[in-house]
Symmetry: C2
Subunit: 149 residues, 2 copies
């Protein structure tokens, strides 16, 4: 494990998430999965070395984020493709939060290449904090509180 090989802190959900999602390349592989990519060759195009991609896909399957599904194209041999599970689709806010922060605070000369949209009507959506009634709470009014337990 090359990235985020953290001392075990089982009580912190951020640390737990990072043991999987914090591995190098993993969130970019998942970004591709959210774009609808499912195949090894498609994921490879982001520049990840093949052996690392193999390891990452294996970890993501083991973690229940992706699941293997066999396919055969033309007369070729049967291969696996990798589909997001429900737990995998729930990673979308992590990717969207990174995207929002990067767009806002690391502006690039070239335009952004992705947008989170409501599938039904392509309306742009953004991540926000909401209270129990679904009312938006401004980020500056939110604190992360450590619970003493």
């Amino acid at each position: 494990m090359d990235a985020m090989a953290l001392p075990v802190n089982d009580r912190c959900p951020v640390a737990r998430s990072l043991t999987i999602l914090g591995q190098k390349w993993t969130l970019l592989v998942l970004r591709e999965a959210f774009f609808g990519r499912t195949r090894f060759a498609e994921f490879s195009r982001i520049g990840i070395p093949s052996d690392v991609l193999t390891a990452r896909l294996g970890s993501l399957v083991e973690a229940g984020i992706l699941e293997r599904s066999p396919y055969r194209e033309g007369g070729g041999r049967v291969r696996d493709e990798y589909l997001l599970t429900a737990a995998g689709r729930d990673v979308l806010p992590v990717v969207a939060a990174l995207s929002q922060w990067g767009r806002e605070h690391l502006p690039a000369a070239e335009a952004s290449t992705m947008r989170a949209l409501r599938d039904a009507d392509d309306e742009p959506v953004r991540l926000a904090f909401v209270d129990s009634r679904g009312e938006v709470v401004a980020g500056r009014d939110v604190v992360l509180r450590r619970l003493v337990g």
Copy 2:
């Protein structure tokens, strides 16, 4: 750079964010900052080696996420503490998204140690996608669309 040393993909805001936030330990250092920690010795307690912490704090200052502020305690020498900037506070959704995912999909025997709350009344808040009118959009109805540009 030990983590997320990615091929340059300047057009992807997720990749841009990860060049900073994807470095090993960085998001846990920022978690501590959100808890109100500001000092080197406080950040050290998460188990990060001192040389790595020095490097990470330097990168975070350079990236405009933390800023140095001198303080002197008792008769000691002047040291710097590290305060979140506005750009740094905007990382909160990334940390909150990781926390939500970990709580939901990597349940631990022990209770969670943190919660995002509205500062004014300690009401728990959660991250959600919202449309332009501030209406919550369910995660399963959101897609990440690659823009061809």
